[in-house]
Structures are given as structure tokens and as C-alpha cells.
Amino acid sequence: MKQNILLQLHPMTKFYFTLFLFAIVLILPGYLFSFALFPVLLLIALFAGVLKEFLNIVLKALLSVLVIIFIMQMLFYPGENVLWGWGIFEIKQEGLLYGLLLTSRILAIGSAFILFFRITEVRDFVKSLEDIGLPPMGAYVVLSTLQIIPEMRRQANTIMEAQKTRGVETEGSVLVRAKAFIPTLTPLILSSIAGTEERAITLESRAFSAPVKKTSLHQLTKSNIDRALPIIFALIVIGLLVWRFFF
């Protein structure tokens, strides 16, 4: 994994790349370019070795949204040129075009962000944000959330088991399971709130608020590519803007 040039890029470079895609998708007119971007992203994902997960998430997260948006736009966007009608439903040319434009943009931007989080470790990203000035407190909140969610899931299971031994029905019809929700959720929330105090003390005993500048074992390095790429991105975006508004 470490050999891969793409994955070795600085998280900020990847982030700028995502923002760059975001910008050009909005600047360029028409849906063809935006749709063409998706195969490019697929190629990048393939090259980074995350094609399968990437496709999986795109399908799960975006596909249904895209289909719904497309159908809604197609049917209900106001327009004159009716292509096909059935009762109150009419497909209009304007709606079709707008639906394509909207879905192409959502697809391009959404999958660009999904790709970003596939090829970037969140801890690297947070570290890079910290390097450019995110306070350690904020970084802690983001990172601890990532770790605490699986921990809470484990705790929820424990509570569920405990409630089972006390005779709370947790299996069966939807209604039974819904009823089991409250005796499971309440202790989970309460214990999480109680846990914050101890966590604060834990952090304090690790000198979290020590009045010195922190160091970090986790270092990110910037290569020349990482310095050059953002400038290239910015130049292209400016170029496109100029072309779009002055010609």
C-alpha cells in the first residue's frame, strides 16, 4: 500500500484535488463533462487499489438518490416541450436536460468526495488540518468520534445482553424489538454521558492541557508534487473561470 504514489500524496493534496473537481464541475456547462468525470474517478480508484469499495459505496449511497432526483426532475421540471405523456405525468425536454445536469453533477461531486475518503486515512487528514491550524481540541473530537463509535456499538451489545438476562424481550416482531429499544438505548446514552467525565480525567492525566506545544509521532511529509499540484489546480480553475465569463 505504501508503494502507491497516489496514496502517498499529502492528504491536503488529495483534498485540493477533490475541491478542484468540485469547482470545475460547477464551472463547466452541460452534463457530458460531469458524466465523463466518473470513469476518470473509477480509473483513479483502480490505480489506488480501492475500486471495489469505491464502487460499492457509490452504488449504495448515490445510486438511489440519483435515480429519484432524475425521475422527479424529468417529471416535474417546468417546461414546454413535452416528449411523452401519460395522464398527469409528462416528460419534458427541459426536465430531462436539467435532470441529467443535476445528476451528473451530484454523481461527480459525490463520488469525488467518496473517493477522497477512500484514499485518505481520516487520521492523516485530521493531522494535516492540525498542521494548518486546527486546534488540538477539535482534532481530538474528530478522531475520538471515529474510535468511540465502534466502542459504543460494543457497549450497546453488552447492554442488550444484560437486558436479555433481566427478561427484556429483544427478539421477535418489529413491535417487540422497538419496545426493547428504550431499555437498551437509555443506559447506553446515560453511561456515555457519565463516561465523558472519566475520559476528561484520562486526558488530563495524560497532560492534554499542558501549556506547551504538542509534538506528534505521526508526521506527514510534503513532496514536490504535493507543492506543485495545488498550484496547477488553482491555475486551471482560474483559467476556466476566465474562459467561462470573458469569452
Binding site: R123, Y140, L143, S144, Q147, I148, P150, E151, G195, E198, R199, A200, I201, T202, L203, E204, S205, R206, A207, F208, S209, A210, P211, V212, K213, K214, T215, S216, L217, H218, Q219
Partner: protein, 286 residues
């Protein structure tokens, strides 16, 4: 010898409670001493630890009377963050003592040093050393959330001693450990003492306290009822009424005394029993 920890008439009441948890406590602990705090559940041991660490009154509000002086400075004159370097505190519950932002034990142990701004190269050397000391090198790549209670307890201890504080406050560090693990922890504590650390330990395992600790503080219902060298406190007949366990050998010796067998002194360590019985100098196997 200078006093490292000095409490003068300290009383403390938690914010929403009516009774004081600590009542008029005074003692002082010299630099480099190993002091054990004993007492039954709810006697205020943990609150006392919190007070020495400065969580009372910096973190827990409530009423604190009297003076707490750590290394010649009043606790109220410290900022909470400054105390982190001075007083290391390993607390009871090992399951919550995880930073929650680190993926492996090595980084978890390094976390305190990062916060203290120690240079990276030095961090690596120090963490390496502590992992070896606490015998958790084999855990270095494991996720701290996936460890057993005993393993977490070792990681928690390692994470604190790596910061090399002058004072170590350790609250029941062996509650999740097997006998061998417990013995190892006490060996580590002894090593810390040899390095000149001042140690305050809350523990229920009297045999080990008798073997390792210098002084005892006995807490009972929020009051400090007895204090002094371990041997003197245990030999004091008053100790019995607080219903705290004696070291096993002391218990046996007291039984022997009751059945009329004279002892030259009250043994508190296993190997002393023979000596206490053989006061005339007759060898056992003769």
C-alpha cells in the same frame, strides 16, 4: 528530607453531597517514599488521590478546606495542565483509561509525551523502554480498545510512568491482574521508588503492601485514622477495629499469640515468621 506532598487540615465535600468525603486530613509524605493508602470501600481513598492530583478542586468543584501543598507550592497555584508533568495518576477503572484517539498501544503510551511536547526521537526511546519495563512489548501493535482488563491496566500504568512524573499516584493498579501480574506491578513500583519517585498507592492486597511499602495511611469513613511506618501501624492494636485485613502472616502470628505462643515481634512479611518464633535462636531443624 523535604515533604513532597503536604496536606494540612484538608476537608472536602463533593458539589451535591451533604457530607464531607474527607474530614480534616493532615499528613505529609517525604520525597522518595512509598506510601500505601488503605481503608474499606467508600472511606475516601480515591477522593484523597484526586486531591493530591489536583482534580479536586481543579476539576471537581465542591468545597475544599485546608491546604494541599505539592512540592512546596499550593495546589491552587498550579494550573491543571502543569500538574500533569508533576503528578502521574493511574486510576481505578482501566477500561476508560484509554485516550481514544490512538490505534495501537505504542502510540497510546506515547500520547502523554506528545502532549508534553517531547521531541519525537526521545518519545520513541522512552516508550520502547517503558514497554519493556511493564512487559507489554508484545501488545505494541494491538488496538487499545481490544485488550483485556489486565492488559489495559498495564497499558494505563505504562502510559503514566512514561511521562516520568516526580510523584506517582496509583489507585488499585492490580484489580484486574493475576497474582504474577500483581507481583510484577509491585516490582515496577519498587523500581520507580529506586529512581527516586514519590509513590502513593491505593491497594487492598496487604501482603504486598507489607512487603513493599514504607508507610501506611489508614482511612476510615473519610478520616485519616492512623499513619506511620507500615510495621508500626500494623503492630498497633487499634488497627484491628477498622476491620481491614492484616497481611496473612500477621494474621497467623496474632492467632499464635492468642493461643499463648510468644513472639519476639509481630511479623508482617512471610519470611519473618520463623524469626519471630525462634527468638531464642534455636534452629528449626535441630
Amino acid at each position: 528530607m523535604t515533604a513532597m506532598i503536604d496536606l494540612k487540615n484538608v476537608s472536602y465535600r463533593y458539589p451535591v453531597s451533604d457530607d464531607s468525603v474527607l474530614k480534616n486530613i493532615s499528613f505529609s509524605i517525604e520525597k522518595g517514599k512509598f506510601t500505601a493508602i488503605i481503608g474499606n470501600n467508600g472511606s475516601g481513598k480515591t477522593t484523597l488521590c484526586n486531591t493530591i492530583r489536583g482534580f479536586v478542586p481543579h476539576f471537581y468543584k465542591g468545597d475544599l478546606d485546608g491546604e494541599v501543598i505539592i512540592d512546596n507550592t499550593k495546589i491552587t497555584d498550579y494550573q491543571l495542565g502543569q500538574l500533569g508533568e508533576k503528578v502521574g495518576y493511574v486510576f481505578q477503572n482501566p477500561f476508560i483509561q484509554v485516550s481514544g484517539v490512538k490505534d495501537n498501544v505504542f502510540e497510546e503510551v506515547a500520547y502523554g509525551l506528545e502532549n508534553l511536547g517531547v521531541p519525537v526521537e526521545e518519545i520513541k526511546v522512552r516508550v520502547e523502554e517503558v514497554l519493556k519495563l511493564v512487559k507489554i512489548e508484545y501488545l505494541r501493535d494491538k488496538n487499545p480498545f481490544e485488550l483485556s482488563g489486565g492488559q489495559r491496566q498495564r497499558v494505563a500504568l505504562a502510559s503514566i510512568i512514561v511521562m516520568d512524573p516526580e510523584i506517582l499516584v496509583i489507585d488499585e493498579p492490580t484489580s484486574q491482574l493475576d497474582p504474577i501480574g500483581t507481583q510484577q506491578i509491585f516490582e515496577i513500583i519498587r523500581l520507580m521508588k529506586e529512581r527516586g519517585k514519590t509513590i502513593v498507592l491505593v491497594e487492598h492486597k496487604m501482603d504486598l503492601i507489607a512487603e513493599y511499602a514504607d508507610d501506611l495511611l489508614v482511612m476510615h469513613k473519610g478520616e485519616l485514622v492512623m499513619q506511620g511506618p507500615v510495621r508500626d501501624v500494623l503492630a498497633d492494636p487499634a488497627f484491628e477495629k477498622y476491620q481491614i485485613q492484616y497481611p496473612h502472616v500477621t494474621e497467623i502470628a496474632l492467632q499464635l499469640q492468642k493461643s499463648g505462643i510468644p513472639l519476639s515481634f509481630l511479623p508482617i512479611r512471610d519470611e519473618e515468621l520463623a524469626e519471630a518464633l525462634n527468638r531464642t535462636g534455636v534452629a528449626v531443624h535441630d
